[in-house]
């Protein structure tokens, strides 16, 4: 479904991604593990089209979108929940969600809105409040709900559990698992590598802009190198 070949990107002269190969198949939950600064967020931004790429290709269902605008990619179903949630603070919860469906016809958005409210009832209770007044966990749900409004085929999640209390982290991970459906693939970036690998079909280990290891979630969890570098035991 999503096919990335030798993707490269740089901040000025400093390379951030040095030839990434990554595949995402329909219905798959794939996680990207790596230290701070390994290039995880850069990779997601390059996939979303908000980070310039210097080489390689990104394809979705065979179509080359390496140079496509971020708007076009959202239309094709590549949707990101960015790191740090990035909700539109002064706007209401419902406005945030409606903006999530910005590229879709209004009539379709209504159905999605009901589904998101069914999934996150707390958002329905707070639909009129401004997004900036929500708690961290609620903002994360809002950010995920906003992404679902775009009807994603490829959902990119950047650090959804960052800065949340442990109880909420479990809740968010449960949501992530609920989001994967037969036709939605999820690419999950997490600092919490253990929890991410435990629910993932496959994983990639990213180090200084390169993929150094790949395998099933279980295999990576069992890998001695991964355990000592990212799991701490």
């Amino acid at each position: 479904m999503l096919e990335i070949r030798s993707l490269a990107s740089a901040y000025g002269r400093i390379p951030a991604l040095k030839g990434i190969d990554l595949d995402l198949r329909p219905g798959e939950l794939v996680t990207l593990v790596g230290a701070n600064g390994a290039g995880k967020t850069t990779l997601l931004r390059a996939i979303s089209g908000v980070q310039p790429v210097t080489g390689g290709t990104v394809r979705i269902s065979g179509a080359d979108i390496t140079r496509a605008s971020s708007r076009h990619r959202v239309r094709l179903g590549i949707v990101q929940v960015p790191e740090g949630r990035q909700v539109f603070g002064p706007l209401s919860v419902e406005d945030n969600l409606r903006l999530g469906a910005y590229t879709r016809p209004r009539a379709e958005a209504e159905g999605s809105l009901e589904r998101v409210y069914a999934m996150f009832p707390v958002l329905k209770d707070k639909r009129g409040s401004s997004a900036g007044t929500l708690s961290g966990g609620q903002q994360q749900m809002l950010a995920m709900g906003r992404a679902l409004m775009a009807q994603p085929r490829v959902l990119l999640l950047d650090e959804p559990s960052m800065g949340l209390a442990p109880r909420l982290v479990a809740e968010i991970f449960a949501c992530v698992q609920a989001l994967r459906t037969a036709d939605t693939a999820i690419l999950l970036v997490e600092q919490n590598a253990g929890a991410a690998l435990a629910i993932a079909d496959r994983g990639y280990v990213l180090e200084t802009g390169q993929i150094v290891l790949t395998g099933t979630g279980a295999a990576l969890l069992a890998d001695a190198g991964v355990r000592s570098a990212y799991l701490g035991f």
Binding site: V79, Q80, P82, Q86, F88, P90, L99, G132, R146, A150
Partner: protein, 291 residues
């Protein structure tokens, strides 16, 4: 005494409404791009001069007004497309300097296309003054206040009720997140510049029968509108309107009770005072956010 006060108040509100329209233009572009568009005053000039010229060509006034506003909106579009867009990614200061350059260019072009004379637009509905509570009110003042009110209501509907308006607000709050939901930041910029230009032109047309218009009328009106935007809080729509009104009334009162020699200085004294003592302005954004 009270009649005099009422007179100054009416004059102040009229001028203030014009400042408010110009200030709204500053705020809309600032929200979209963090750029202070110093060519905003030139849109005011283009609106006034273009409508005067069209009326001189025999175009009926209502059509001339619509055409002049449309011309300014196109000019705003062109400014974004050919001057600001090519410098995408440049520091904001660079973009601000580009707008200063554009304003000089537009003033120069205005002297070539039109002339360097002062022109007056015919008042929209006669010149017979009305008596309101002891004050003499020109019918044109009512036009200025009425149209400004209509424009403000229209804008608050646009930003408060339409998805496109909310997309503009969303982009000003968080550009990255806006791109990630599929909002085209380029289109937001184009729309903001043409909307601001149209607002400036409306101000320029409304005021043309009262204070007249000429190729360089935009300099002072632009600066006054900028002062009003800063006073109200840059980026705040309600602030722009409030700032414009306060500034207009302050000017009119000081001209009446102190000396009209200091009329233009008032705006800049207020501007300096706000920047020193309350840089966020009267209604500026002070948003608390959780991380």
């Amino acid at each position: 005494m009270t009649a005099q006060f009422a007179q100054y108040l009416v004059t102040g509100l009229t001028v203030g409404a014009v400042y408010a329209l110009v200030a709204l233009g500053f705020s809309i572009i600032y929200n979209a791009s963090q750029v202070i568009n110093f060519a905003q005053g030139e849109f005011v000039m283009v609106g006034g001069m273009c409508s005067v010229w069209l009326v001189d060509q025999g175009v009926p006034l209502p059509a001339a007004v619509v055409l002049a506003v449309a011309a300014a909106a196109l000019l705003g579009l062109a400014l974004e497309k050919f001057a600001v867009e090519p410098a995408r990614g440049a520091p904001v200061v660079t973009l601000v300097i580009i707008t200063i350059g554009a304003s000089i260019l537009l003033r120069g072009l205005a002297t070539l296309v039109w002339d360097k004379k002062i022109h007056a637009l015919k008042p929209f509905s006669g010149e017979a003054p009305l008596q309101v509570g002891g004050a003499v009110v020109l019918p044109q003042s009512l036009w200025v206040l009425g149209v400004t009110l209509a424009v403000v209501l229209l804008l608050s509907w646009f930003f408060g009720r339409t998805l496109l308006g909310k997309a503009l607000l969303a982009t000003s709050h968080n550009r990255l997140a806006a791109q990630l939901v599929g909002i085209s930041v380029r289109n937001v910029m184009l729309l903001s510049f043409s909307l601001s230009a149209a607002l400036g032109a409306v101000a320029g047309i409304l005021v043309a029968p009262i204070t007249f218009t000429s190729w360089d009328v935009g300099v002072m009106l632009g600066l006054k509108g900028f002062a009003a935007a800063i006073l109200g809080g840059l980026g705040s729509g309600a602030g722009a309107v409030l700032g414009g009104m306060v500034l207009g009334i302050a000017e009119s009162m000081s001209a009446g009770y102190v000396s009209s020699a200091y009329k233009d200085a008032i705006a800049f004294v207020i501007l300096l005072a706000v920047l020193v003592f309350a840089p966020d302005g009267l209604l500026g954004r002070r948003v608390a956010e959780r991380v």
